[in-house]
Amino acid sequence: MSAHSISIGATPLLGGLAVWLLSFMLGLPPLAGLAAWAARRRSIGGAIHAAGALGWGAAGLGLAWVVSTGGGGTAWRGLIHIDHLSALLIGIVAGISALVAFYSIGYLKIEAARGRVTDRQVRYYYLLYHALVGLMLLVAAVNNLGLMWVAVEATTLVSALLVGFTGTPHAIEAAWKYVILCSVGIALALFGTVLTAAAGGPLVGAHGAGLDWTSLAPVADRLDPALMKVAFVFILIGYGTKAGFAPMHTWLPDAYSEAPSPASALLAGALLNCALYAIIRFHALTAMSVGAAFSSQLLIAFGALSIAVALPFLLAQHDLKRLLAYSSVENVGVIAIGIGLGSPLALFGALFHLLMHACTKTALFLAAGRIVQLYGTKTISQIRGASIAAPASGTLLLLGALAIAGSPPFGTFVGEFSIISASFLSDRSWLGAFILASLVCVFGGLLYHAGRVCLGNAPPLPHQAAGPFSLGSALIPIGLVLGLGLYLPPFIGEALREAVRIIAGGGM
């Protein structure tokens, strides 16, 4: 039973259970990170890391459930605001990050056994990991759009250290490009935020509330349209850099490829969605102020460009992790087009695809991570017979490739099909045809590369893969993608529809 309503000036408070879950969700990451870092031994650090991940993971998923079924609200004197859109992001971030956290333990154990990381570095990884997760959850939970910016920029800085974690020249290059490009981009987003504050100030009055979502959303139709247009352009370019829109995406393949595989999974599965979330919030405000056409057209343009740019790099790719990175750029383009199209079907497709892509890409990076660790290389031409040498990982990679290419019965098919249908229904057949054609190419390309990796005879391998724990972390998301493609539980469908209403009409 929904406890919230579209009302002006009266956002309900979050219920008691939700506030408890929220406090655990936001309070545990810094504690767990610091405790894991300060632990005397790697094994104790690992135990604290796992316990922490279990704690904030359960709290986050629980909070997402409570809000999705019971309605959202504010907490902590209006500092926090959670609605169905935030709940979607919280669910994704908490779930994915917890799974990848468990995977990390086995992965790093192997790296430590090979002498590639020291115990101290492993504990440093745990610190960065929990810091990053805490910040991502903050992005989703915070009410004030300025504080959201602060959290997004902070995630860039912390994740840059994860990207450069291995310390090799390539990793440092990737980390530096990432930090500079994304920080410049996000600085532009700050300018957009400043302009939004300028637009909101005269309407909202109180100095602090000028950037609160709960204050801006009810009055969004009275925000200065010219100002909001300029603001949105900066927001889109700024947060779009972080989300991986072309042509600002150049940092992404380097960062995803050079980061340790669990960190790549976190970047692709969780952090990417935080940037998309920020764009969606501002798109909702701008659409209410200016009318949907302006921001929609920009989103569609960037989306189409991202798909077009990613395609050739995806097809002619030599590096397994860069392949997955360009696939992320392509999928972000599809999601952007879905948001841009704006019809309920398109928005539903976009949000559902956001969820499905997060799960699939995570599973892919984790499977690829196991394979790369086993073979000691990321180069596709040097990896053969993974389905024999590492049957589980190889099969997961093939399944993941099928899923990310959008084939039924995976959930990714549902999302992409909805977006394509919506474009045909809205008299933009060229767009639908373009996406369809691109997906066919992606399908061919991904399966070709996955086939090269998985099929054939395996060469003698010097290394050992990690244990069953790591496998579960990759199996669960891909299972979810398959499961939700076959059957969508009503509560998820309803929660997504509520989130669609927030984007389309500013309900709180």
Partner: protein, 211 residues
Amino acid sequence: MTAWFAAGAVLSACLMLGMRRVETVVRLLRWQALCLVGVVAATWLAEQESLLGVALAVALVGKAGLIPAALLRLIRGLAPQPDGGPLLAPRLSLVAGAGAILLAAAFADRFPGGLPLPSARLLAAAITLALLGLFLVSASHKALIQIVGLFVIENGIYLAGMAVARGLPLLVELGVVFDLCVAVLVATVLLRRMNLTLQSLRTDRLRQLRG
């Protein structure tokens, strides 16, 4: 009053374009931050709003104090970089500087809804700073100059916040300054590593990753 401080900030950014040593550029960054503090102080004195006083203190400690100090410490800790002449191409810098000022003035004039003259001047200064910072990031091959450029962009946006929105909410200002301090930390970690593995802080050596 604020106009003088804003002009000082713009002057410091223009001077950065012509410097030969990274250390001098960082000292100019400190000057720039102090000019921004001056803008906030003048506004505070004029409007007597207590929150601005807190913002002033935060900007003073963070932007003018901690950040330049940390950067200077980083520079001193690195291997001395040879003096390779002006840090940025002189003619290009001239064009960039002039272009930034002209563009900024044009945009500030066209601000949607119009602005009172003092705010418009501040906004023009802010956009100039942001554009010059962008130029520093994109035109320089030295990683240290790129990070300084980033801070110049942030200074510009801070000034823009003062110009059009009377500053952002205090909590957000605190958060932004905190973020910038973390940025210096991260840059320190990465640059020290870069110096160790590549024996150079030139980003034109970072061209290994392609395709």
